[in-house]
């Protein structure tokens, strides 16, 4: 996909951290040689095209009170995958839910990221999801150490 210099400039700007200033797009507009209005209208277009999913604050979940997080991987078959995926997606505490192509000897192909405020809440959530989806075979894969957590830099 080709991006013109204004789009590239905006992508570079938005993948970093917007300055905490009354007019955060001012310097960018000077740098790119266009008006702040132009930048905003381009951002709106990129949002409408779906390139930008969201604009705003990205939180550190752990510091925002969601201290217990786990990746739970479930074994699901072709017939029940979509229904199970939808049920999981409806949980407020599930942030990500994907069906993945996995090695056969691993087999857990439906991944959910669950965020809870306590261990009790986490196990209740998992029980609840298991009950509602009817999926019995799952593993909880917890993070032990974070080596990297950043946003993608496209340019």
């Amino acid at each position: 996909m080709a991006y013109d210099h204004i789009e590239r400039g905006i992508i570079k700007f938005l993948q970093a951290d917007i300055p905490l200033a009354p007019r955060p797009y001012r310097y960018l507009s000077e740098e790119l040689g266009c008006s702040e209005e132009e930048i905003i209208s381009r951002i709106i277009k990129m949002k409408n095209r779906g390139l930008i999913k969201r604009l705003g604050a990205v939180l550190r979940h752990q510091k925002a009170g969601f201290t217990v997080n786990a990746m739970v991987a479930w074994k699901v078959d072709e017939n029940t995958k979509d229904q199970a995926g939808q049920i999981m997606a409806d949980f407020n505490e599930v942030s990500h839910c994907y069906l993945r192509e996995v090695p056969e000897d691993f087999g857990y192909n439906l991944f959910s990221m669950i965020h809870a405020r306590s261990e009790e809440e986490l196990s209740e959530l998992i029980d609840n999801i298991a009950r509602q989806t009817g999926l019995k075979d799952y593993i909880i894969i917890r993070s032990v150490k974070e080596y990297k957590k950043t946003s993608m830099k496209y340019f």
């Binding site: 939180l59 990746m71 994907y98 993945r100």
Partner: protein, 156 residues
């Protein structure tokens, strides 16, 4: 521990969900909450300094941007973990990397301009680290949620 005030939670909710697409976004937020823009900016700065807000910016859809992404896992002997994690971290396009409690103990995400490029990167990482890397690309996306509404009980 970070305890958030009601005003801080309101600001977080606005910043996450309805960040104004305008020339003066912080002024708009401040007006909606009946506070001065300076106060609003100070509170945001404080939440950033305390590590509650990681950044304010755009969250992109890598697929719509024309990129390929995948979740990767490998089994690394304990003595090699730090070295292997560092080699993986150094690779452009690796955005997340965690040690986890499974026989696949190192899990990372890779985003690359194409499937071919991702395959090339993973082959190089396998050579550099001497491990077998398993790639588990998503075939269906049921949910990607990036905001958490702050309710009264949240934000301990």
């Amino acid at each position: 521990m970070n305890r958030l005030t009601t005003l801080e939670k309101e600001i977080i909710n606005k910043l996450q969900k309805d960040f104004p697409l305008s020339k003066e976004p912080f002024k708009e937020i401040a007006e909606e909450l009946n506070i001065h823009e300076d106060e609003c900016l100070n509170i945001i700065a404080s939440m950033k300094a305390r590590g509650i807000i990681r950044r304010i910016g755009g969250v992109f859809d890598s697929k719509k941007m024309g990129y390929y992404s995948t979740l990767c896992a490998c089994t690394v002997p304990e003595s090699d973990i730090e070295k292997t994690a560092a080699l993986i971290n150094a690779q452009e396009g690796v955005t997340h990397n965690y040690l986890r409690d499974h026989s696949y103990n190192l899990w990372f995400t890779l985003t690359a301009p194409s499937f071919e490029k991702a395959t090339e990167i993973l082959e190089k990482l396998q050579n550099d680290t001497g491990t077998i890397i398993v790639s588990m690309p998503a075939t269906e996306v049921y949910k990607i949620k990036v905001t958490f509404e702050m309710g009264k009980q949240d934000g301990i």
